[in-house]
Symmetry: C2
Subunit: 286 residues, 2 copies
Amino acid sequence: MKSVSSLMEMQALADQSRGSHRKIGFVPTMGSLHEGHLSLIRTAREQCDDVITSIFVNPAQFAPDEDYEKYPRDIQKDTVLAVDAGSDYLFIPAAADIYPPGFSTFVTMDGISAVWEGAIRPTHFRGVATVVLKLLQLTKPHMLYLGQKDVQQCVVLRRMVKELNVDVEIFVCPTIRESDGLAMSSRNVYLSLEDRKKAPILFQTLKSARERIDAGIHECASLRREMESLLGSAAGVHIDYIAIIDGETLQPLDVIDRSRQTIIALAARFGTTRLIDNVIIEPALP
Amino acid sequence: MKSVSSLMEMQALADQSRGSHRKIGFVPTMGSLHEGHLSLIRTAREQCDDVITSIFVNPAQFAPDEDYEKYPRDIQKDTVLAVDAGSDYLFIPAAADIYPPGFSTFVTMDGISAVWEGAIRPTHFRGVATVVLKLLQLTKPHMLYLGQKDVQQCVVLRRMVKELNVDVEIFVCPTIRESDGLAMSSRNVYLSLEDRKKAPILFQTLKSARERIDAGIHECASLRREMESLLGSAAGVHIDYIAIIDGETLQPLDVIDRSRQTIIALAARFGTTRLIDNVIIEPALP
């Protein structure tokens, strides 16, 4: 395993790997690795010759009032975990190298980056798209591995890669969950013991909606009412949004169209900790 | 010579060329090739193994009231000229492939893209940066060739490539001029006979400023006054701007700092035809 912090060195190593006709898999992370990240690395290990994992807590995707400073960081533990999962390179750039003084170039997107997470966090996806484009230029991967937990991020990055013609294939890995169903997230460590006990209600709410859809309920207003009622039943949970949306446009649906992919996504706060989760309803076979 | 219109084919050819360790040079153009473009292609021919010239009149860099529709186009003539100058590939994508329906991803820049040309053409550099980033992903060049005539474009693209970590080296070729000093431009064909006779005043004004600077006049207000007076002496010329600016920040100077690169740039209209030109004052040797 090789740990790289220099941007030029990373790019030269990626170039060398490409020049040797090796298939590069890239897993971008903000560190604080959990089983979700490790499943991405393991999948990359299976599918590629060289696996690059980046660890970079990206200031551009945090708003000033968000948790950039207190975001959990543990490079030593992350290094052990990433190597065990099969990463060949750990790319750990410095923020001052990624965003040198006077930095002013951003990747922006209308529409899908301004709704849901983007409505609550207006510059979030601009920060995500910009840093991922930069990391893709630096690591030159054939495959980019993303987790389904951040489903809007997946949709935004898929659009970005397609519209900017970046020559990389995106592979989305399923959400990894704790035994009680809570989606793994680096932010779960913020939860109080009491809120940690309540948090599985997120996935329960999503599962319940999926069951209702499987049972033939396709009218979204009533699905959403049921979800609100279930999720709101946990004391002290503040619902940011419940979204029943088209899998590509992210536009809210009135009625679920089983010929297309539907996303059911939600965001809720437990005290000051904000968690998101989602399930995907794949198109029904004709 | 191979002419390519498919985006996927272009990317596959570029990948193949890179995989064979061939050095790729890329010359982006809007067609209507003149000696300026051809000098870029000839330079790429000297420095690289494979030379790709793109011909794409980029709608995203034209404002609705600009000359997108009437911009001169002659693919057949361009093909002959590009091949003669040494281009291996002509990449001629369709606008509908570069900007498919719903296209919403743009590269934006604060500061240097909002002044001078950007102040008069507010979405121009967003369109330029976006299309060039896309073309760089499609052609995967080692070298990108640009003409000094569009000096702000060179500065904007240099910043974009640096800040987005695109692995390409920019080579700027000097402005090619008609025998009377008029900078070659695809838009020169718009000039009336009478205006064509007046147009060399642009370069005369720039040359005169350079001579004054060489003679030790470094105070920019008086240099600008002299330039205004000379350029304004031609009847019917409307000056858009005269800029004496830092070569990197594009900020206007009070006094020329001979330890840094200075750009003297101007834009003027002859009737409805808008022309730009510039000279670069390189740092004096210490």
